[in-house]
């Protein structure tokens, strides 16, 4: 068995005492990051990237640490959803629908443990799916030339804009902002500076970490200043925590189905975990019918979105690792991490650096088990951490962001840019313009342009080359459909409203 021997190699890398310790620390940190309202997985991972970088960890250790944080944040998001009715991030929104009512019925502990188990099932199955599917997709990806890659990047922007936002024009504009920023700096082909307006600091281009931390973390501070930190107090008391075996057994098929739905949703480039938890919840709701009582605090309504969300998080790694196209905001941040570590995702990653891929997969499995073991007995500790008031938390996050970005290059210019991105993020989010396409644009802009230019060099300037292979044509069709179709499906895909007290 090829997979088993690869996996054994991965565990050989990921199971050293040091990396195991990193995984445990990462899981702990990640759960806290996910649980704190206003600090989601994208935020948390983005702030930690520059810090990991300066700690001088090697690529595998850094990867283990950050994936543990990533999965941990996915787990942690549900704690604030269930106890406070505040989703820590977008995909956790669906968990509030049944989790919070369940907590109000005095079953907060049951809801937390059940969602933890559902997260485990979703993430575990998705990791196995990733192991099976990613090498296959990597083999297909070898047939991708520059024309196909250009179409693929287009597909990512189109589906992200189409599915994850309410207004196509705004999503397209957001992608363009990101792409436009990515063009700044020295041109790869000609070696000439572009769009730097004579500014020496801009010659290197805009670092995507600066943009990510600014758009996510600094913008969040502005939102908290606007709301004066309201809605960060503890909502529901947590009494005793036991293991609700009955609920777990009753929801086992729900978890399996939701994992499948979530995994498929996660694989679609640009769709990501939000769509996964949404589809998982909605499909279980329609399966249960009116008698299912979804929305009133039923265990199935807690298990389905959590399994779907975590399965989608695993599924999103498939296009990210094999094609270098992230499926969601958080995977975009993980892609940023890989690029910072000088690892280029793509089909060659599986053959050139199998130790990275399989080390990553093994560390995902380890992180998952650590999280399950950590979350059931330690959930009370995490709930305590939720009590950190916003007026300590948010200034702290800001200062950590500043130090992290400062340690990248030691220049005040990056800090100013970061504040600028924070303001931009505030304005964009106020106007309902999604910020994830901006990040994706900055991350992928250079590659997308290179793909286009390489394709044109190959064809000597013949634009029809872009549609010269069946794969490319298929990707273009999917891209256009992914952008246009949601306009007609708005009514169908309408998200349920959050419950208000």
């Amino acid at each position: 068995m090829d997979i088993l021997s690869n996996l054994a190699m991965g565990f050989g890398i990921a199971l050293s005492p040091f990396t195991l310790m990193l995984a445990v620390a990462g899981c702990f940190l990640g759960t806290i990051i996910g649980a704190l309202p206003g600090l989601g997985p994208s935020n948390g991972v983005a702030i930690l990237i520059p810090l990991t970088f300066t700690m001088g960890l090697d690529a595998t250790s850094a990867l283990v640490l950050m994936t543990a944080v990533y999965y941990g944040a996915m787990y942690g998001g549900r704690i604030s959803s269930i106890l406070l009715n505040i989703p820590g991030d977008e995909p956790a929104l669906m968990t509030t629908l049944d989790g919070y009512p369940m907590a109000k019925q005095g079953r907060a502990g049951d809801a937390l443990v059940l969602s933890g188990v559902a997260s485990f099932v979703g993430a575990f199955l998705a990791t196995i799916g990733l192991m099976l599917l990613a090498p296959m997709l990597a083999r297909v990806a070898f047939y991708f030339g520059p024309a196909e890659y250009f179409a693929l990047y287009l597909l990512a922007f189109c589906t992200l804009g189409g599915m994850a936002s309410n207004n196509q024009a705004k999503a397209a504009l957001a992608s363009c902002i990101g792409l436009a920023i990515a063009m700044i700096g020295v041109d790869n082909n000609s070696g000439m500076p572009r769009l730097t307006y004579g500014n020496m600091h801009l010659m290197d281009g805009v670092d995507f970490l600066v943009a990510i931390v600014g758009l996510f973390a600094i913008a969040e501070v502005f939102f908290f200043i606007e709301s004066h930190g309201k809605g960060s107090s503890i909502g529901v008391k947590l009494d005793k925590v036991g293991i609700p075996w009955k609920d777990i057994m009753a929801t086992k098929w729900t978890m399996l189905r939701a994992s499948g739905v979530g995994f498929v949703a996660g694989i679609l480039p640009g769709a990501g975990a939000s769509l996964g938890s949404f589809l998982a919840y909605m499909s279980e709701k329609s399966l249960a019918g009116d008698k299912g009582g979804f929305g009133t605090g039923v265990p199935k309504g807690v298990a389905a979105p959590e399994a779907g969300n975590n399965a989608a998080a695993g599924g999103a790694l498939v296009p990210m690792l094999t094609l270098g196209v992230p499926g969601s905001g958080t995977t975009a941040v993980l892609l940023a991490l890989l690029m910072t570590l000088n690892i280029t995702p793509g089909p060659t990653l599986f053959t050139d650096r199998p130790e990275v891929v399989w080390g990553l997969i093994a560390s995902l499995l380890i992180a998952n088990i650590v999280l399950l073991l950590m979350n059931v007995p330690m959930v009370k500790i995490f709930v305590k951490i939720l009590m950190v008031p916003a007026w300590v938390l948010l200034p702290g996050v800001t200062m950590i962001s500043f130090v992290g970005i400062y340690s990248l290059s030691g220049s005040y210019f990056d800090l100013l840019l970061m504040v600028g991105f924070g303001v931009l993020g505030y304005v964009l989010r106020k106007l309902d313009v999604p910020t994830v396409p901006v990040i994706l644009g900055i991350l992928l802009g250079g590659n997308m342009e290179n793909a286009l230019r390489r394709a044109m060099v190959l064809s000597d300037g013949d634009a029809l080359f872009l549609w010269s292979s069946p794969i490319a044509i298929g990707l273009w069709i999917f891209a256009i459909a992914g952008f246009v179709a949601p306009m007609f499906m708005r009514g169908l895909l309408k998200k349920p409203q959050r419950i208000t007290d």
Partner: protein
């Protein structure tokens, strides 16, 4: 409505300005068929088109905060910019306690708690970064002690 129209107009101008500066990009003699100008022009074009659509089909207005809140948001930006400039010459501890204190006060206006949060965060993070994570931070400006 109005917000989206203004936003669309601003973005339209920015997109056109971006395209204008893209035409000024120097090409070298080793140019490929596409050259360094085409992609920025394409991106600017799509951005201009999207801005037009946003102007013509605006969404309902968001809930903008009141003028006072805008003032404190502006103050927060000024504080962060000043902090960015101060970090190098003044060291970590002093600017951080001031900036964190002001931000904390803005989220929850209680002077004593906010200044304690500022000082506590500053010292705590300094110890964490310097000794636990081993970053080379300068605590206080050189020559003070």
């Amino acid at each position: 409505m109005a917000s989206d129209r203004i936003f669309g107009l601003v973005m339209l101008f920015l997109a056109l300005a971006y395209m204008a500066s893209a035409t000024q990009i120097q090409t070298s003699f080793l140019a490929d068929p596409v050259g360094p100008r085409a992609f920025p022009l394409l991106v600017g074009g799509v951005a201009a088109l999207s801005s037009l659509v946003i102007m013509l089909r605006p969404d309902p207005d968001p809930d903008w905060p009141v003028a006072r809140t805008f003032l404190s948001l502006g103050l927060a930006v000024v504080v962060l910019v000043a902090y960015a400039y101060a970090l190098k010459p003044l060291g970590f501890v002093i600017p951080t306690s001031i900036a964190a204190g002001i931000l904390s006060y803005q989220i929850s206006p209680r002077p004593v708690a906010a200044s304690l949060a500022g000082i506590g965060l500053s010292l705590g993070l300094f110890v964490l970064f310097k000794f636990a994570l081993g970053l080379s931070l300068i605590g206080l400006p050189k020559g003070w002690f």
